[in-house]
Every structure is written in C-alpha cells, then in structure tokens.
Symmetry: D2
Subunit: 364 residues, 4 copies
C-alpha cells in the first residue's frame, strides 16, 4: 500500500505539498445521508491554522475548504468526497538558500535518501501543512461517530516541564495552548513566548479523550483499537510516543493496582478505575478512551545547527522563518481528527461482529 491513504472502510487519501497548489483530500466510504457543507470545516481548520495566536506561527493560512464532490443538495451521497484547501501566503524564495542543506529534525535527508529527489520548499510533502487533510477528514469522521454518541476532546496536558494539574473542560478553548487547567495554561504560554525569544522551541504532551464510547470497537489481534489508534497518532509529524490510560506508568505498577475492577450499574458493566484507557484486549470497554501523545519541540529553530549538504559536505544551518515555538496547541485538532477517523472506521464494520448485527441492517 502506498502511504497516503488511511483507513479501511472510511478511507482518507491525502495529497499536496507545502508550496504547491494546495492540500487535498478524498474521503471514500462515508455513508450516504449525512448533512455536509463547506462551513462544517471552518472551525477545526481555524483551530489548526498557523497565525491563530501569539503562541503559534505568524504565518497566515486562510485554509478554506472547497467541497468538490460527494455531496448533493446538502447531503452525502455515498460517493467519494473530495476537498481542496489552496495554499496562500506562499513564498518559496526564502528556501532557496537552504535548498541543498538538510535541516536537522526535518525529513529533508530521509526523503532525499529514499526518493533521490525532494521538493525542498517548506519541506514539500513532509510539511506539517499536510495535516490540513487530516483535520478535514476528522470533521466528517466526527459526524459519523456522533450518531453513536461519541464525542472527541483533545487538549494539551504538558508543555516543557509544565504539566496540567486540574481539569476543567470549559477552559480548553479559552486559552491559547488548549489546556484544561487555566493556571497551567498561563505558565505554558509564558514558557512558549520565552522559547521564541531564545530562538528555540519546546515539546509537550497532548491528550485525547472520547466520551460516549460504546463497548465492542476493535478487531483483534492486529487491528486492535489501540493498535490502529497508535498508528494513526504516530503518523502525525513530531509525535514520538503514544500511550493509553496509565501508559508508561504501568511499568511501575502491580497487577492488583493496575487491573480495573468492574461493577454493574443498572445492568451495564462499568470500570471503577480507567488504567486501561478504555481498551482491553484491543476492544473498547465502554469507558472513556484516553490516549496521550508526546510531541517533540518544533525542529525549525533560528539557531546555527550542524548539518550536511546534499553532496555530503559538513555545513551549518540557521532555519529562519515564522515557525511555531510549540506545536501542541495546533496538534490538538489533528490528534482529534485521527482518533475520530479510527473510531468511525471501526464503527462502520460493527455489522460484521455478530450475525445478529448482520441481520439488523434493513433489507433493500
């Protein structure tokens, strides 16, 4: 399989480069009958775009989604849904100076090594601009899973050494870092601005929580829900780790601590704790899905760094430009999108789990 499609039954195909015509996406497999218009994409695209606040890049991307197919009279038709976001505010000339240099932390060298050629302008296909397609797909996926009551919620839980300590959902979109702890958010913001001043960048951790999870999503033993989610999230640029529930902390736990005890609430099985993060044996258990991703500091920094050029000669590079000192706030909607895409995909194959489900689908 080439790498630019994602999903089995809800299938997203992404194309486009940072400094080309634009970013495009085709979503195939969306059920017919869902209301959809160009306006539906505006909110999440705005949460992803650079230039949205003083803690993100100052580049201006308008990022309006043009709906090219798959919708008729306001509803999906079951046909592939194509969307295009044109590149604007594109100036490639500043990349001329580093055309032959590999930026540390970026995919310049690895693309060159693999393909023997690369579009050096803004990283080309390896640019974070590629996540536009993911966010668009996420909007559609969120609509699909909403029909079963699932709601995806992403937020920043750590920037540098500052971790959120409280959780107030209503705070998330009220601060620039998208953190549910207003106090920590303020400190995070200060840290990011300090990093920018030092011509440096800083990493962080983003958490995604899904409320309203049904039990029963996931396909053991290789398409387990957590396995598919791990791939989805790790495929986002800058992500270096993924963990569910208690995550890496399980290493230090005892079984008697870590196992989530069960209780019946009105006939429905519930978990007394959620160390599993909502997935056991690769299948959702009805508890909230909880997953965290580690985000590395933005690779583009305006400091001299040691590198090599494409002729194999040692050199030094300073990456100028309007880069994010911390990418976490903008990764939040991207991570949400990937989680929603995986959940929608698994939801669409639920029919195959039991003969009773198969029988339940109405006859034509």
């Amino acid at each position: 399989m080439p790498g630019n499609s994602f999903g089995q039954l809800l299938r997203l195909t992404s194309w486009g480069e940072s400094h080309g015509v634009g970013l495009g996406v085709v979503i195939d497999g969306c059920p017919a009958g869902i209301e959809l218009s160009e306006e539906d994409f505006a909110a999440d695209l705005a949460r992803r775009r650079p230039g949205q606040s003083r803690v993100t890049s100052q580049r201006k991307e308008e990022d309006r989604a043009e709906l090219l197919s798959g919708v008729f009279e306001g509803r999906t038709t079951g046909m592939p849904i194509a969307l295009l976001v044109r590149n604007t505010d594109v100036d490639s000339s500043k990349y001329d100076a580093i055309r032959h240099l590999f930026r540390p932390g970026h995919a310049d060298y690895t693309y060159q090594a693999k393909y023997g050629v690369r579009d050096h302008r803004g990283g080309g296909r390896s640019s974070a601009r590629e996540t536009v397609a993911r966010v668009i797909g996420g909007v559609i996926a969120k609509k699909i899973i909403a029909r079963r009551g699932m709601r995806v919620l992403g937020y920043t839980v750590q920037i540098g050494d500052i971790a959120a300590k409280t959780f107030d959902e209503s705070q998330i979109e009220r601060n620039l870092v998208r953190c549910a702890d207003a106090l920590a958010a303020e400190q995070m913001e200060q840290l990011i601005l300090a990093c920018r001043k030092e011509r440096d960048s800083v990493g962080g951790i983003v958490e995604v929580r899904v409320r309203g999870m049904p039990a029963g999503l996931g396909e053991p033993v290789f398409h387990k829900l957590d396995a598919d989610l791990a791939a989805a999230l790790m495929s986002i640029g800058s992500v270096r780790g993924v963990e569910f529930g208690a995550g890496f902390a399980v290493a230090g736990m005892r079984g008697s601590q870590c196992n989530d005890a069960m209780r019946s609430e009105g006939g429905r099985v519930t978990m007394l704790t959620n160390h599993a993060g909502g997935v056991v044996g690769g299948i959702s258990n009805g508890a909230d899905l909880v997953v965290r991703i580690a985000i590395k500091p933005t690779s583009s920094i305006a400091q001299p760094q040691q590198t090599v050029d494409d002729q194999g000669v040692d050199s030094t590079i300073v990456v100028e430009g309007r880069h994010d000192p911390a990418i976490c706030p903008r990764i939040v909607p991207v991570a949400e999108a990937m989680v929603a895409l995986v959940l929608a995909d698994h939801l669409l194959r639920q029919q195959g789990a039991r003969v009773a489900y198969l029988d339940a689908v109405p006859r034509t």
Copy 2:
C-alpha cells in the same frame, strides 16, 4: 479488513485459541529462495515459551513448529508458508469455575460485548498464547532483513521501579529477565519473585534496537515506519505505550537539544545523537532504530478482585493458575518479531521508491 492478518507485502495470518487444537500461522509474500526448516523456529519459540525459568509461568508448552507448506527441498518457493504449533499441557477444567465471570484486566468482558460469545478457556483467542504465531513470523522476517544487514535486538530495560543503567549486549540472554545490565537483572529477578510470593504481578519496559538499518524505509504520510511499528507493537497484548528514541522525554526538551545534528562520515550522513530513534519524517535515517514499549503487570493474579458476571451481577474473582508474575522476559522475542515483520514488509516495497530501483530488478 478482519483483524487477524498483518502486513502488506509480507503478510502474516494468525489463527488459534489457547485451549483449541493449536496456534497456526500463514506467512504469504516471502520471496522464493530462502533456506528454511523447522529447526529455525526452535530458538525464538523457546525464548517465548512459558516454563523457561523461575521468573516465568510454570506451564510447560513444548511449542514445536510444524512446517506445512511453502518450502521445497529446504528453500522457500514463494508460496504461502503455513506452520502449526499444537497445544499441549492443556487443561480446560480449571476454567469452568470462572466461565461466567469477567477477569479484570483481561479481554473477557470486551469479547463478550463485541461478539456475544466467547471461548472462556484460558482466554481463548485473547490469550498470550497467540504470540506464538508472531514469533514464528518474526523468524522468517529476520531472515529477510538480514540480507540487508539488519539485526533486531530486544531486551528488558525496566521491571517495576528497577531500571537498567548499563548496557552490555552479551549479558542479555545470560539472565532470566533478558536485561543488558547484569546487576539490574539480578534486582529485577528478586522483585519478580517477591511479586509472585505476594500473589501479585509487576510491569516493565522492553526496548528493541535494530542495528544495520538502511536509510529510506517507511511510507509517508500514513505508513510511516514509526506508525507501522507503533501499530505492530501496540497490537501485542499488555502493551500500553510505545515510544521512539527520546520518546516521552521530548515533551521536556528544547528544539536545540532534541534535534539530531548531522555529520558526514566518509560521505555517509550520520547523526551525532539519536533522539529520533532512527526515524525522521516517518523514514529511517540509517541510525539504529530504537523503540520502547510499556508492559502492564500480568492481569491474572491470585487475589480476590471485584468483577461482574455475564448476567451483569457483581461478584468477586480469584484467578488461580500458573501465570507469569512479569511478562517482559517473554515479550522480548515477540517485540523483536513484530519489529522484524514491519521492517521486512517495508524492505519488500523499496523497489517502488525510485525508478532507478525499479530498473534494477533483473528481467526474467
């Protein structure tokens, strides 16, 4: 896609339950001409099997792989390679008592919720016995990637709160926990035995390192090498987190720290550090691949735990049996196998990266 196949060009299909006839695996897509015999599987199956030492389960599984197809006169033919490991030492009667109870931490409840039915004997398909198929596939994958000089090395780096501090490769297979730090290994062993005595279990962390990596493996933007590896490793039972290189520690780093500077060594690009863990932009950069997985404590513990039965009634369960107090030592070969399978799969599609590679394949 149903869940029991893995890989795109090297495709492993797994079947079997803990207390059924046995565990089976079909590997399709292995190139013709590789030497292969039943003996090749013995070493890794022995590293995986229970009963191998006093820190693992005392169950005796002989785990001999029968080669059923795909090999002719000692070499692979390009046809699917089927193998079977029969279940022995199987006693299902002890599971009768908990037939209607959901074991906390196990997939009993989630399988029931999804499929409406489950084979309760030893967890059925959700048993760790399923990893037999993975280890077998890994043996073949290791042979494929060895042709490009790749060598996969797994080891335990943490058990409970005891972390390895030194690295001596030669120590790994000399101690029962498969740790490269002999001193830590001894402490880990003591901790595991103490947990067993307390009728409890303990988690840990396993690291896999691949030496001899070529640059250029991985398919952005969704089949990135690290994304595929994350799915592969997260699909192993008990794994709750995956991280590459510096992993979650990147959250606390600055860009100037985290970026791996580059230097030319005899024309070959090398990294001065390896915070990326050998993968940048989803493509290998030629540095060692380094990935770690967090393993939860074994769910089966001989202590009373709160649970629910399959009629939704609250209950208490004690899971008796010969279970591993720590699964890390036995997960090492499984994790190696999954890494090898992903690398082999990506290696087999390298031809498609460049027209020069396409042209290089000899004409029939």
Copy 3:
C-alpha cells in the same frame, strides 16, 4: 498484497500444495453466532473431489475437513476459522520423470520464470487441488448469505460443442456433468468418455445463478459487484472468460433490445428481461445474478506434446496420470464458492452504504 488471500471483510487465506501435507484455509471476518461443524463441509467437498464418477479423474481424494479454530460449542466466535484437508493418495514418484520438463498448458514454466524454483510434484501450489480451500470458504459464505435469502446454484451449460437447451433445476445433481438439461447431459457424458478414450480432454461453460438477490450490493467504481466476481471467477484455474447476463452477445445487440425494461410489482421494481445478469452500474438490481465462465480443456493429456526443459532445450512430453477429461463438473462447486464469497463480503459492508443502516446496528 501477496496473492493467497481473498476478500475484504470476509477474508480467506489459502495455503498448501498438491503433494505436501495438505490444503489449508483460514477464514477471517465471519460473524459470531453461526452454527458450524466439520460435517457442513462434506457435501461440497464431495462434489469437488476427483474420483466421484466415471467422467472425472480416477484419483481418490478423501477430503475431510478438520476444523482447527474459530468455533466454540458449535457456533462461530468471530475468531479466524482454520481448516485443514490432508493430502492422501499422494504418489510423487511419477512426477520424477517430468521434473525438468514444462507441461504445456500448465503453470510449470511461469512459476519457474517468476520464482526461480518450483515444486514440480503434481504442479505443487498451481494444482487444481488448491480449490479445496475455496470450496471450504464457500460453505461458510453460503451460510452467511443464506441469512438474506440468497441461494447459489451452479451447473454446466456446455461441454465441447454440446450446449444445454432446457433448464430443469432438479436434474443438475442427478447427472454426472451437473447439467440442468438431462438430454444434453447424456450427450456431454458420451463426449467426455470419447475424449478420454482419445487421450484428449474437452472444455466447457459453467453458469452460476443466484436466487434471492437483494438490490444494493456492489461498490462502484472499482469494487463493482461484477468486477469483484470477475476477479473471483477468473482466479480459478482453467477459466479463460467471464460474462454476465447476455455476456458477449451484447456486442451484436441494439440498445433497444439490450436494456432491461422495468415494471413495478407491488411496489418492488422488477426487470422484464435480465440481459444485465442482475448487476447494473456495478450494483445488484434484485434480479437473479447470472454469470458464466469458459473452462479450457484439461491441460494434462496423455499425448506427445512439444515442450522445453528447464535448461531451455526442446523436448517432447507425455503427461501420464489419472486426469479429468473435462473439469466442468468439478468446477461447479468451486465457482459457486467464489460467487458466495464475493456476495458475503459485500453483504458485510452494507451497513456503510447509508447512515440509516449504520444507525440500525444494535448498540452494545
């Protein structure tokens, strides 16, 4: 994708060679809750096996299916279902003489050209024995589609120049060639016996009809129902053509003749003719599915034929052995199986067609 798996949601993986341990199959994605036992496979395996009558090969293959996984207490569990049919009556010695010769019409040369090696004993993997796995998968698929009232019916419509002229379904399994025209069946039988006497073989045409078709199966524009069926049927050894409804005869028709006019019968749309064979625009229209396949004469004939050896030297070959003079009667259950597998696969994804279907699946 390697070649030995078939289907998307109901996925069959096949392995085994003519003179190896046996033929095996793994069916993944079968919904939980379907009654299944080893006895269910006996009837179709008997219809496929050689030695069943005087017009087929005289080889004796017992072909008993061993059920290895995926069934618990008489019902499917949603786990992969593995089955094995052991090879018996295997004598490889007679193939020693032609080990280095390529049999005309067989895949000897093409396997050698592709893989550089081949199991020459009875054709190895390229043997028609491989269809055992298909028939087994078909039994399960037939059970799945029966839940929607679909019934698959295969029969011979032509052997050599003798074509069936009448259709009496009750005749099909009463004659040795599986023809619905008793008179033609007798002539076909005579022709086959005459061909055997002449040390020759003869081709034919098999038709498959599915009654009880729902409208709405098929996934335009590349997984159209007829496209998937064409691949499924063309993948059977000896098939050289596939046609639906009026088939190749459409070339000579006018639009006014060929279009199937529609009428409402009690609100249900029906077709006045069925030139389309039940598929329009790649989606079933509720009329009977009708598809025909052209079967070439068996390649193994006991006459001298010009050929080449594996050193590229011209030679002559006589293929001795107990071969079918006409393969049609035994292909009938194989063709049925492939049709059933495709229909089951498409049925399992029906939920994704409309949001109303998605909503209809019960909540866990």
Copy 4:
C-alpha cells in the same frame, strides 16, 4: 474497502460526478524520477473525449488535466500525484424532466436502492465521465511499464455483427472506430451512423494487446494477472464480459488443440500458439497479453422505454441528449489504461518474488 480506489502498490483514487466541479484522481505509489507534465495527458484524453468524431457523442468536453501535486521540476517525487479535469459544457437542466425516473440500462435504480439518494444529473458518479480518471492513471502507468518495454495497444474488433478480419496496426488511429481492419472500420462506421438515425445504439468488442511482456507477472492464487485484469476491465461501465486468448472458444476445443506448445528460441521459451493470451496459471509467460471485452450498446436511447419512477409507479421514458450510438471507440483508451494500471502494479511488486530480486535493489 470503499470502491473508489484501485491497485495495491500503484494506487489510483478517483472522485467526481458528471455535473459537479470536475473529475479528479490521485495516483499514489508512482516511483520518483519519472518525467511528467500536463501535456502528457492530452493525447489519451483526446482519444477518450466525446465530440471527437461523427460516430461519438456530440458533446464537447475539453478535458484538460491540471497537475496539482507530486511533480517537482518536471519529475515525479514519489508523492501522490493529483490531477483535476474540470467539467465544462455542463447543462443539468435537461435532466430535471427525468429526475424521478429510472433510465433502463443505467444505474439510476441501483444507486437509489443502495444509497437511498442519487445525483440524477447525467448519472452523477455513475456517468461514463468517470473514466477520465482512469485514462489519466493509465498515462502514468504506461510510463512505468514502458521501462520494461511493455506497450499497450487497444482497438475495436467488433461493432454489432461486423467483425474485423485483418490486422494492420497502423490503421487503428486512422479510422473513427479504432479498428485495425480498414475495410471493416468503414462498415462499422456506417452501422453506427445508421443506429444513430434509428435513435438506437449498438454494442461491440474491444481487444487490448500488450507487446513486450516479461514472463513472471501475477500473484497466484487470487491476484493472478488475469484475475486482476478481469476486475479492472469489468469495472469499466458497459463491459459485460472479459476473455483471454482463445476466450470462450476454449469451451469447444480439445486439450491437444488448446495447449500452447513450447519451443526454445535462443534459450528463451516461446509459445507456438497463444490460446492462453499470455497468461498461464495466473502468471505472464512472455507472449503477448491478449484480452477482449464485450461492450453493451449505450443505454441512453431516444426511444420510449418502459420504466418505473422513484415512487414505484410504472412510467415511460425517452432519454434525449447527445449520446454515443456506440461507445467502443471511446472505450479503447480506457481499456488500455486499466490494463496498464494492472501491469504497473504487478511490476512494482516483482522484487518480492525472489530473494535474488530483493538483493538486486541498490542500497541507500
């Protein structure tokens, strides 16, 4: 898998409707380093477009391909290649009259039955306009397979009851029906014009031949070369049958006739006849690939036909508009494209056939 993607390693994703913004296509998996520009698509798009001659539809579609991604400085980069052909000359108003009527032979009813909704304007997604995406993909595929010397040649061999009797390759593009027999071409042309006058349409047969075939392409037992080709060709609208080499004529042949005898020519194995059409056991044998498809008469005819409306009421329909009286001449480039796509896909996986091929790919 949703239905709008095709291929495994060279993967085409198609989108768009007849009366929407346009038709689009994303080709993923094309090796880096191939020269490509918008001009490359002009010739085959012109061969496909309506209005090209007096025997095709009189609609004017300009069909200029805009290249949106995947090419940098004139060469492919290994990134997804997106192209867009805008719809022009679009007038939807004439479809208002038949909005609620199902056109016989068209997919109106089946789309409605499956999705519960349809874009009625010009058939929406089910329009033949969709083949624009296929032709574009074919241009890229032809470039890939040309590197191994493969050349794809399509032509009409039958229109109505008029069959080509001679073969002169140079004639094909010199007549309006794309027939290699100049005399037959003239008669075909007359027949088509007569059908138009009668407000009727006529079917035909198109053949595709590939010269320069290597031996060894195809993946038994389910992704056989002929199986993949059958699916590819059957997925084209209006195709009702596919046959290879001798095709349905094998039904009437004896084995002694049908088997292609082999001879060595300078060490290379050649076939004395080509009844197999270049594929044996699902793998190419080095002879020309020869495949034929049966094309039904265009469904849109300006005669009254019995039908049903979307409320289930009987009605009569006359399909006005500028439709092709025979679609064969315009299907030629589409059929070529599908054949090229399948061949390119199989070529890209050749590395996996043998360990020697794997070893041959240069190291990064």
